[in-house]
Symmetry: C2
Subunit: 195 residues, 2 copies
DNA sequence: GTCATTTCTTACCAATTGACAAGTTGCTTC
DNA sequence: GAAGCAACTTGTCAATTGGTAAGAAATGAC
């Protein structure tokens, strides 16, 4: 297993990470390489979530509303750590599916193993916290745009920050992610492109 | 300083917390008692956020949109840990104000001191993580209702889960928290109460 | 107490969004 | 190629929400 990309990712996340041989080895040991084909699930509803450092690919998280319709809760681009927080950290069955929109590559571990590294490699704890904080902050941002931006503004923002998504995800999924119907998104797109 | 309520809160959060004299003392040492009068700020925009274990009271977090209008991002009831995550954990100036809606009581600490406890009292790290995860999960839930619930459903949900808020917060602030205008909330309330 | 200010409600109209249905396009399967 | 299916767009109408203004109610200053 070539662990260099994994360690690079960790170093990029926390510049303070020290590379003593011991810790480096222990850290790498706890991860396994994982590849997902398009359409494969990283997390399934009802099952526990793992912890996936994704270096290539795109993922979509979704759940179902009372009417049984899919609600897309998140899109994950590459170079993000992907996990369903309640399931992973609270040991609950996941309430979300996370599915590969493209072929995905990265490094995978479980809660038990991650805790093992936290215990054995103190510097690594900072990584765990930084990741949790980063994802939390991203979610706060998302909530904020839901409360104070119009559908069109949210669409424009998504195009700016995550244009690739439109290449891989279906518009109906982008619509539910933006909190509107696919019909509405279609209209928004027409008006937006006429500007 | 009577640290019993503080330690009870920690124990309630993580039942595994061991009460060895040493760690107990060190933990308590890092907190100071804090009381806020109604209208006082816990966090101010531009300043760093602290970490407040609030045992009594209600707080409101808010920011401003491009038009300079207040947007309420969160209401904190008692028995929650209150902090602005990006500011506290990433050392950034806060982009939110957090203000007391009522008299508030609890225990306060800074990032440096909290890290000190994490270092000195390993069991306490679990508390820090549990708190972070809990707040993250709460925010995810909030985002989900913004995407797949109507304003009236969100209103009904807030009444059910947080009825007290209506006693302490202004309706215009509740409106922006729900992502609607105060005019709209007024209508929703009329229609809701006529059912 | 009065006055002034803010908060909340209501009314009116405009803009946005949703629900439903029909039509187009593209893809898969046979 | 034809048939079937899913994704996307468009149109129509209804429901929801926003913007503005006016008035009622509550609050605070004096």
């Amino acid at each position: 297993m070539n662990t260099e990309p994994l360690l690079n990712f960790i170093k990029a996340t926390i510049p303070h990470f020290k590379l003593d041989e011991q810790g480096l080895l222990k850290t790498a040991e706890c991860f396994e390489e994982l590849e997902l084909e398009k359409g494969e699930f990283l997390v399934k509803i009802g099952k526990p979530s793992g912890y996936f450092i994704m270096l290539e690919g795109y993922l979509r998280a979704y759940t179902f509303n009372e009417e049984g319709e899919e609600i897309t809760t998140y899109f994950f681009p590459a170079n993000r750590v992907v996990f369903e927080v309640a399931s992973f950290f609270q040991g609950l069955p996941s309430e979300e599916n996370i599915i590969a929109l493209t072929k995905c590559k990265g490094f995978y571990t479980s809660f038990g193993k991650l805790n093992g590294i936290f215990h054995a490699v103190p510097e690594f704890r900072e990584f765990g916290r930084a990741v949790l904080v980063k994802e939390f902050v991203a979610y706060k941002q998302r909530t904020l745009s839901m409360i104070n931006k119009t559908a069109e503004e949210r669409y424009a923002q998504l195009i700016q920050t995550n244009r690739d998504i439109f290449q891989y995800a279906q518009l109906k999924h982008i619509a539910s992610y933006l909190g509107i119907t696919d019909t509405s998104l279609s209209r928004v797109r027409r008006e937006f492109s006429s500007k």
